[in-house]
C-alpha cells in the first residue's frame, strides 16, 4: 500500500505546516484554542507518521519489491531481523525514522509539560513543527521511501557489514540521541521566543537531554563494538567522519549537562547553556547530513544523494535564526552572578566545558577540512589518526583529571589549604598506581601511563565520595549500611548517578589506553600445521572449512590457541561471501580473557586457493573494559534519569505558589 504511506506522509507534512503557522499565530495573538489546535496537530502528526512507518515495515516484511526502497535494501534470502533493520539501513527509511522519533518526542514533550509550562509550550510547538516540516518535506518531496517501480524478482540485498545484530540497536539508538536533542533545542527556543527565561525550560528538558545523551553514548559504544567484531580491521574507532558525527553532539551535550548545573546552582551561564543546546542540535543535524548526504566517503555513509543541499540550507537556517534569537534576548539572558574564584566547582565545570568544546571543535575541523580542501583545491586532504589522537590526548587527559577534581571542590571558592587536605588520598592512590605501573613496564607509552594514573585518581575520588556519603547517611539515621547507601543515591540521583557515569568514563579511558597504547600485532602467511606467535600466545593453523549459510557462503580457518603451556581451545576466523550482494566480509575470531579483559583478535586477511591463509593477529589488553564501561554508563544513566519524587514535589509546590497548575 504505497499510496497509504505517501498519503500519511502528506498528512504529516500538512499537520506540521499547520502546527507551525497556527502555533506561531496563536502565540503571537494569544489565542488559546488555536494554540491547543496546533498542539493537537503536532500530536496527530506522530500518528500519521506512525501509519507511514507501519506501511514501510509491512512492505519490508512482505518483500514488496515494487517499492524501490525495499528492493534496494533487502532480498528474499535476508533473515527477518535484518529485513526489519533495513527500515533504517537506507536513506529514505532512516529519514522516516527521524521524522517518527521527532514527532513522537515532540508530542510527548508537549503533552507532558503543557499543563505546568503552558505559556512556554505555546512557543515550543511551532519550533518542533518547523523541524518536523523540514523532515516531512524531505520524505515527501526529495527522498520518499514509497517510490514505486515494476517489481523485480528479488531485491539487491543488504550491505554485508550491516547484517549484524548490532545493527538492530545501534542506528535506532543514535537516532533517539540525535532527535532527542531537538527537545532541549525546541524548549530553549520556545523560552527565548516567549521571554519565559526562568528555569522551567531546563526542568522540562533535563531528562530528555539525559535520555538523548545516554542513547547517543550507548549507541556509539554499540557501534564501536559492531566495528570491532564485524568490520574486521582490528579496531573499534577509526575517527571516521560519520563516527565523529555522533561523537560531536555527544560532547556538546556532555558540556551542556555539566554547565546546566551551574545555571541551576548559581544562576550563571544562561547564554552559554542556550548556545550549547543550539550547538548540540545543529551538530545532530550535521551528523545526519554527513551520514545521509554522501558528502564523505565512509563505511557508514551508504549513499550519494540529493538531500545534501537541503540539509545544509536547513542547518544554516537553524544556526542563523537561533543565534539571532539569542542575540535579541541577550539583555535578559545575562546573569547577575559572577564567577567568584578560579578555584571553585563552577570554575572546574567551566574548564571541563571549555575542554569538551575544544575537543568537539577540533573534531569538527577534522571532519570539515577534507570537504573544504576539496571545494577549494579540488583535492580532499584527510586529517589522519595522528591529528585526532593528538587532540584526544591534549584535551582528553585534562578532562579525565577534572572528573576527579570537580566533585571535590567547594562551590564559589575553595582555599588551597583545603584542596591539599581533600586531594591527599586520591593523589596518593594515583602516585602509587603510577609507580606500580611503571614497574610493570607501562612506561613504554607516556600518554597511556598518564591516562592510567589519572584514572586511578578519579576512581579514588569516586570511591571516597560514595564511602563518605554513605557514612554520613548512616550517621544521619540510616539503620543499615546498605540502607545508608540506597538513601544516599536516591536523595541525589543526579550527583551519584553522575559519579557512576564518571566511573564508566574511567573504565573507557583505561580500555582505550590499554588497547591502543599497549597493544601488539603480528602477521604471517600460514599453511595447515604452521604456527605463529604473538606475545605469549601460540596459534597453530589446523583446517579450512566451507558451508552454506542462509544468504552467504561461510569460509572459516580453524586455529588452535595456546598461552604458554595452557591450551585455550580453538578459534575460527574467515570470510563470508554474500551471494546476492556480491560482496565479501571479514569474519574475525576473538578470544576474550574475562579475568584480564584482554582480547586475542584474529583476522583471516587473505584465503588462498591452495588453502594457505594470511593472518593478522592482535593482542589488545584491557579492551573489554570499553564494553564493560557501556554497562556501567547505562547504570549511571538510569540512576540519573530515575524520577526524583522530592524534586517533583518541590517543583509542584513552587508552581502552585505562583498559580501555575501544579501538575506536570
Amino acid at each position: 500500500m504505497p499510496e497509504l504511506g505517501r498519503a500519511a506522509l502528506l498528512v504529516t507534512l500538512g499537520l506540521s505546516l499547520y502546527a507551525l503557522v497556527a502555533g506561531t499565530a496563536a502565540a503571537r495573538l494569544g489565542r488559546r484554542r488555536l494554540a491547543r489546535s496546533a498542539q493537537n496537530a503536532l500530536v496527530a502528526s506522530f500518528g500519521a507518521t506512525a501509519v507511514a512507518a507501519a506501511v514501510l515495515l509491512s512492505a519490508l516484511l512482505r518483500n514488496d519489491f515494487s517499492l524501490e526502497y525495499v528492493a534496494r535494501t533487502t532480498s528474499r534470502a535476508l533473515p527477518t531481523a535484518y529485513t526489519i533493520s533495513a527500515f533504517w539501513g537506507g536513506q529514505e527509511g532512516s529519514l522516516l525514522l527521524w521524522l517518527l522519533v521527532l514527532t513522537g518526542f515532540g508530542a510527548a514533550a508537549v503533552t507532558l509539560n503543557r499543563s505546568w509550562a503552558r505559556d512556554l509550550i505555546v512557543w515550543v510547538v511551532p519550533v518542533f513543527a518547523a523541524i518536523s516540516t523540514f523532515f516531512a518535506f524531505l520524505v515527501v518531496a526529495v527522498a520518499s521511501p514509497f517510490a514505486t517501480q515494476p517489481a523485480p524478482l528479488d531485491g539487491a540485498g543488504m550491505t554485508p557489514s550491516l547484517q549484524n545484530p548490532y545493527m538492530l540497536a545501534h542506528p535506532p539508538l543514535l537516532y533517539l540521541g540525535y532527535v532527542g536533542l531537538s527537545v532541549p533545542f525546541a524548549f530553549a527556543m520556545g523560552a527565548i521566543l516567549s521571554g519565559k527565561l526562568d528555569e522551567r525550560w531546563l526542568v522540562a528538558t533535563r531528562r530528555w537531554t539525559l535520555f538523548a545523551w545516554a542513547a547517543l553514548g550507548i549507541g556509539q559504544l554499540l557501534g564501536s563494538h559492531w566495528a570491532y567484531v564485524e568490520v574486521g580491521w582490528g579496531g573499534y574507532y577509526a575517527w571516521d567522519p560519520v563516527e565523529n558525527a555522533a561523537l560531536m553532539p555527544w560532547l556538546a551535550a556532555t558540556a551542556f549537562l555539566h554547565s546546566v548545573m551551574i545555571q541551576e546552582k548559581r544562576g550563571m551561564l544562561k547564554v552559554w547553556n542556550v548556545l550549547l543546546v543550539i550547538l548540540a542540535f545543529s551538530l545532530s543535524l550535521f551528523g545526519t547530513f554527513l551520514t545521509r548526504s554522501g558528502v564523505v566517503n565512509s563505511i557508514h555513509s551508504f549513499t550519494q544523494s540529493s538531500i545534501g543541499p537541503w540539509f545544509l540550507a536547513f542547518i544554516a537556517l537553524v544556526v542563523t535564526v537561533s543565534l539571532a534569537l539569542v542575540f535579541w534576548r541577550l539583555p535578559r539572558l545575562r546573569s547577575p552572578t559572577k564567577l567568584e574564584s578560579p578555584v571553585s566547582r563552577e570554575a572546574a565545570f567551566l574548564y571541563n566545558n571549555l575542554l569538551l568544546l575544544a575537543l568537539c571543535l577540533a573534531i569538527l575541523w577534522g571532519v570539515v577540512y577534507p570537504m573544504l580542501s576539496e571545494a577549494v583545491r579540488g583535492e580532499a586532504v584527510v586529517l589522519g589518526r595522528s591529528y585526532y589522537d593528538f587532540f584526544l590526548r591534549a584535551f582528553g587527559l585534562p578532562l579525565l583529571l577534572l572528573m576527579g577534581i570537580g566533585p571535590l571542590i567547594a562551590w564559589r571558592r575553595a582555599s588551597l589549604r583545603s584542596l591539599a587536605t581533600t586531594f591527599r588520598w586520591p593523589t596518593l592512590v594515583a602516585v602509587l598506581a603510577g609507580i606500580v605501573l611503571l614497574l610493570l613496564g607501562a612506561g613504554s607509552s607516556i600518554p597511556g601511563l598518564v591516562a592510567y594514573t589519572f584514572s586511578a585518581f578519579v576512581l579514588a575520588t569516586i570511591v571516597m565520595e560514595f564511602a563518605r556519603g554513605t557514612r554520613a547517611r548512616k550517621a544521619l539515621g540510616a539503620t543499615t549500611w546498605p540502607g545508608a547507601f540506597t538513601s544516599l543515591v536516591s536523595r541525589n540521583r543526579r550527583r551519584y548517578g553522575g559519579y557512576v557515569v564518571h566511573a564508566a568514563i574511567v573504565l573507557l579511558a583505561i580500555g582505550i589506553a590499554g588497547s591502543s597504547a599497549f597493544d601488539s600485532v603480528a602477521e604471517a602467511k600460514l599453511r595447515k600445521g604452521d604456527s605463529m606467535r604473538i606475545g605469549d600466545y601460540t596459534l597453530v593453523y589446523r583446517s579450512l572449512s566451507e558451508r552454506s549459510g542462509p544468504n552467504a557462503t561461510e569460509i572459516r580457518a580453524t586455529l588452535d590457541v595456546r598461552r604458554g603451556n595452557r591450551d585455550l581451545g580453538t578459534l575460527k576466523a574467515g570470510k563470508n561471501a554474500y551471494t546476492i550482494e556480491q560482496q565479501v566480509s571479514n569474519e574475525v575470531g576473538i578470544r576474550s580473557d574475562r579475568l584480564t579483559g584482554e582480547d586475542l583478535f584474529v583476522i583471516a586477511e587473505q584465503i588462498n586457493p591452495d588453502g594457505s591463509v594470511y593472518f593478522r593477529v592482535f593482542v589488545k589488553p584491557l579492551v573489554n573494559l570499553i564494553w564493560l564501561a557501556g554497562l556501567v554508563f547505562l547504570l549511571g544513566s538510569v540512576i540519573t534519569l530515575w524520577p526524583d519524587r522530592r524534586e517533583q514535589r518541590r517543583l509542584v509546590a513552587r508552581a502552585s505558589e505562583v498559580g501555575i497548575p501544579a501538575t506536570r
Binding site: L4, D119, K265, R413
Partner: protein
C-alpha cells in the same frame, strides 16, 4: 488501491477532527485568551527559584561538610554568604507577596 485510498481518507479526516477538537468542544468560549503569567507572577517565579537555589546550596554545603568533602575552613567561609542569600531571597519574596484579593493560585 481503493482500500489504501479509503484508509488514507480516513486518516486525513481523523487528523482534521483532532486538530479541530478545541474549536468543536468550545465553539463560543467565554474567553479565548491564552493564560499567561503577568509581570508580578513572573517576578515571583524568579524569586522562588532564587529561594530554592539558595536553600539547595545551603543544604548541599551542610551535607558536603558532614561527609568531609568540604573542609571546615571552606565551610565557615561559605556558610555566612549562603545564609545571607537565603535570607535575602525570603525577604524579597515577602516583599513581593500579592496584595489582598490576589491570592497565589487564584488563576486556576
Amino acid at each position: 488501491m481503493t482500500l489504501a485510498l479509503l484508509l488514507a481518507a480516513t486518516l486525513a479526516v481523523a487528523c482534521v477532527i483532532v486538530v479541530a477538537l478545541p474549536f468543536l468542544r468550545e465553539p463560543e468560549p467565554e474567553s479565548d485568551a491564552l493564560e499567561d503569567l503577568d509581570d508580578e507572577e513572573r517576578r515571583r517565579l524568579e524569586l522562588l527559584e532564587a529561594r530554592d537555589r539558595a536553600l539547595s546550596a545551603l543544604k548541599e554545603l551542610e551535607f558536603d561538610h558532614r561527609t568531609g568533602t568540604i573542609s571546615d575552613e571552606d565551610y565557615r567561609a561559605q556558610l555566612g554568604p549562603l545564609r545571607r542569600d537565603v535570607a535575602s531571597a525570603l525577604q524579597a519574596l515577602t516583599a513581593a507577596e500579592p496584595g489582598e484579593g490576589q491570592p497565589p493560585g487564584a488563576r486556576n
